[in-house]
């Protein structure tokens, strides 16, 4: 500012608020501030994501390192000193003496990683195909959109199971454990791209006849550049909403697959695997092995979903 030669003291401070302050006053943030549900959901999501990221520093021990298991502390109840070792565990321990709190933190890492990656994969695939279908039209559009329609008739969890099953038979047995995570991302991502493609195609159809696109065409920009630099930024708002809701769905899809035993293995458990393991103890009174991972999954999926809902309303001009 100094090089503009303006005397700062002459400019009333409140008229030119800073970038942050302007954001604070924007419609978007105003809307957020007025929605207690959105605030709670955002806080819960943030806390969960941060604790997953910082799990190695937060967790009392490393649950996937067998050398740290203390079997004598096994079956401890939450917050009750263990009868043999006297140790106290926030959320109890399982049969191997693994601290449930730590397994949840590490399990959530895997769940979130798979969820985010699957959504990003689905998003890239869906946007690309949606843009192509919408902008190019003709046969390309027909093929892509009929494929999408066919896939929509099948429940996405079935599609994911199908892809997972095929991949498992193609991959040699000894590599399976190492690639399971990537197969899951592929399976969930492939089962989820349709939403993105449909929305992007719809918006593209509207946008491509607007003046700015025609102008871009007139000055000789190629179709690729027009799609990428002109249309894409204008279709991102609805994509953001779908992505958020898809994240919740992807986390649940991963948990479902792992719960059914076709996902992450017990040696690398995600939240779904932990729930499926804990379910073995449902009737035996060791409730904490099931309840805490399940509650975490619920909190995570619910808060992301609520955020997505709020985002959809906030970004929809018709609802303002």
């Amino acid at each position: 500012m100094a090089d503009t030669g303006l005397d700062k003291s002459l400019v009333p401070a409140h008229r030119y608020p800073g970038r942050l302050a302007r954001m604070w006053d924007s419609d978007f943030v105003f809307n957020f501030r007025k929605s207690p549900i959105a605030i709670v959901a955002a806080v819960v999501t943030l806390v969960l994501i941060l604790s997953a990221i910082f799990a190695p520093w937060i967790a009392p021990h490393e649950p996937f390192n067998p050398a740290t298991w203390d079997i004598m502390s096994g079956n401890s109840r939450p917050m009750v000193p263990n009868e043999f070792t006297g140790k106290v565990f926030l959320m109890g321990t399982d049969e191997q003496g693994r601290d449930i709190f730590s397994t949840i933190l590490y399990g959530m890492r895997i769940s979130l990683f798979i969820g985010f990656s699957a959504v990003i994969f689905a998003m890239i695939l869906g946007i690309t195909l949606g843009l192509l279908a919408g902008y190019v039209g003709g046969w390309t559009e027909t093929i892509i959109m009929r494929m999408a329609d066919i896939q929509l008739t099948l429940p996405s969890i079935l599609v994911a199971m199908l892809i997972f099953g095929v991949a498992k038979t193609l991959i040699p047995f000894e590599y399976q454990d190492r690639v399971t995570m990537w197969v899951l991302i592929l399976a969930i991502g492939l089962s989820d791209w349709v939403q993105f493609a449909r929305v992007v195609r719809g918006t593209t159809l509207v946008e491509k006849n607007k003046e700015y696109v025609q102008a871009a065409r007139l000055i000789g920009r190629g179709p690729g550049a027009i799609m990428l630099y002109h249309i894409l930024p204008n279709v991102l708002n609805p994509v953001l909403v779908i992505a958020t809701i898809s994240l919740a769905l992807a986390i649940i899809a991963e948990a479902t697959l792992s719960f059914l035993g076709v996902g992450m293995s017990p040696t690398q458990p995600s939240l779904g695997t932990l729930i499926s393991q804990g379910q073995q103890y449902l009737l035996s009174g060791d409730w904490w092995i099931l309840v805490f991972p399940a509650a975490t999954l619920l909190a995570l999926a619910l808060s992301v979903n609520l955020l997505g809902d709020w985002l959809r309303d906030a970004l929809n001009p018709r609802l303002r």
């Binding site: 050398a67 298991w69 049969e95 379910q279 009737l283």
Partner: protein
């Protein structure tokens, strides 16, 4: 309208009374075959004991009693030749489920079938050199020497109809592939299989022409495998099934406290142990795959024995229901070696020293194979072992799988270490030596479950001597010597004797046999 209602009510009442005598039970696994000679494992033989019968059978206390044979005696008796063997006099008027008559021909055929190369039961007949039919109801088994426990060792050898097998092209059993006898049955037992959907449901009904006097009151019995233990408990508590075997260790206490459900607990004859790849050249799994096999070194095996904290497994994973084991058989078995009653102590420091001495101060990584639906809490026990081994620096990559994939994997030698449970069918200490410790030899029918290929010349020498020794004291001495060799060699790491835990609804009375066989003809539903 009223009439329809009445008819409906009557129909409902009829269904209700019919269901009262239908007995439903569940277990974690389905018997993998219906062929009594194809797989020598308790789930198969235990189930088929209701359908097929042997010459002799075991009563509620495991004592041998007549079944298809009414009497038997060993020879030579003074007047006869110097040949050793056993003569069986067969029961007359017995028919198979398809109506054909039972004669000595069927016994001879079943002997040939059960001792053939494809049979898993061949080792029961290791000492038999010849079988001679004397007449339709008399048959001699000639043995290569005195064999005092021969009748005990064939209590699970079941007789199949020779004509039925020939007509259906199933003269030989097949272990891992299907043939007619793996899904169809034709025995002489008290129950016949009326429907068989592998992995889903098997329906049995009493056989009307059975030779014995029925003690049960079942008109229909339905077995279904329920792999998920929590589901099985829920099915028991809701009355959907009348019996589950096993009731999970973690549920036993609470289930027993519930009205309408009881838990029948006993100590099974089954010893759970770790097996080693004695004859492997190299490791097959983990980061060190391809490296020379460290378990060939006695010190490494000793280190494993010292690293495994058996008391902790019993206390936490088995929740106090199991007993420690120091040898291949439990103390309740005949021929148990008192001299070998002490387990290697849990001593991780000693284990680390031994590993360092053997040249593995930084440990190594290998693959541990485990079943996850065969023994009580098997996968949990293996996970606990992974943790214990990690503490002394060796990394086990655990691969737990359903039992239907597990045995083929072990037979294909795909392991670096494995979990095995062994219950001696004869209730005698000789049994595991023959199956698990003798050098594998298909011709002599020895070592058929010795997956790791453990081999010790002295053990091989002692086994036939034990089998033919009539003097109890001398026999025990040789059994003691074998047990000492096996423990000194750390051929296996015996860990604990598994408990029997059956969950049963209050209205059912039944008998729990220590070999974990569930015998339907001892069941009464009130």
């Amino acid at each position: 309208m009223f009439r329809t209602l009445l008819a409906a009510t009557t129909a409902l009442t009829l269904i209700g009374s019919a269901q009262a005598e239908t007995f439903r039970w569940a277990s974690t696994t389905d018997p993998q075959t219906m062929d009594p000679h194809a797989v020598n494992s308790a789930p198969v033989l235990g189930f088929l004991n209701n359908v097929y019968e042997g010459l002799v059978r075991r009563d509620r206390d495991m004592v041998i009693e007549p079944a298809l044979a009414v009497e038997w005696r060993s020879f030579p008796v003074e007047s006869q030749s110097a040949e050793h063997g056993w003569r069986f006099v067969l029961r007359q008027g017995v028919t198979f489920h398809d109506g054909s008559a039972f004669t000595a021909e069927d016994v001879l055929f079943s002997y040939e079938r059960a001792s053939s190369e494809d049979a898993d039961t061949a080792s029961w007949f290791g000492s038999v050199t010849d079988v001679e039919i004397k007449d339709d109801y008399t048959i001699d088994f000639i043995t290569n020497g005195p064999n005092p426990i021969f009748p005990d060792s064939i209590a699970n050898w079941m007789i199949m109809d020779s004509d039925w097998a020939a007509a259906n092209g199933t003269e030989r059993p097949s272990r891992d592939t299907e043939n007619f006898a793996t899904i169809n049955t034709n025995g002489t037992g008290a129950f016949r299989v009326t429907e068989r959907s592998p992995g889903i449901e098997t329906v049995l009904e009493p056989f009307d022409n059975w030779w014995g006097e029925p003690e049960h009151n079942i008109t229909r019995a339905v077995f279904s495998p329920i792999p998920n233990s929590a589901t099985a408990v829920a099915a028991l508590l809701s009355g959907e099934v009348e019996m589950i075997n096993p009731i999970p260790v973690q549920d036993a206490e609470r289930a027993a406290a519930r009205d309408g459900v009881k838990v029948i607990q006993g100590i099974e004859a089954r010893v759970i142990m770790l097996g080693f790849p004695h004859d492997h050249e190299a490791l097959k799994f983990g980061d060190n795959a391809g490296d020379p096999n460290p378990f060939a070194d006695l010190r490494v095996r000793q280190a494993v024995a010292h690293a495994v904290n058996v008391p902790a497994i019993l206390q936490i994973v088995m929740r106090g229901t199991a007993e420690p084991a120091s040898q291949l058989v439990s103390p309740a078995m005949r021929g148990y070696s008192e001299a070998n009653a002490a387990r290697p102590e849990f001593n991780p420091d000693r284990a680390k020293e031994l590993l360092a001495e053997a040249g593995y101060p930084d440990g190594f990584s290998f693959g541990l194979k485990c079943p996850n639906d065969r023994y009580l809490n098997d996968a949990s026990v293996c996970q606990a072992i992974v943790g214990m081994l990690a503490r002394v620096g060796i990394t086990a990559e655990l691969n737990a799988m359903p039992v239907r994939n597990y045995w083929p994997e072990l037979r294909a030698d795909n392991f670096d270490m494995y979990l095995l449970g062994w219950s001696p069918g004869t209730f005698d200490a000789e049994h595991p030596i023959r199956f698990l410790a003798a050098t594998p030899n298909t011709e002599k029918k020895l070592g058929s479950w010795n997956f790791g290929g453990y081999s010790n010349a002295r053990v091989d020498e002692l086994l036939p001597m034990i089998q033919t020794e009539l003097d109890e004291a001398k026999r025990q001495q040789m059994l003691d010597e074998t047990a000492t060799i096996l423990n000194d060699d750390v051929a296996y790491v015996p860990m604990y004797v598994q408990p029997l835990l059956w969950g049963v609804t209050e209205n059912v009375t039944l008998t729990q046999r220590p070999d974990n066989f569930f015998i339907l003809r001892w069941v009464t539903v009130n």
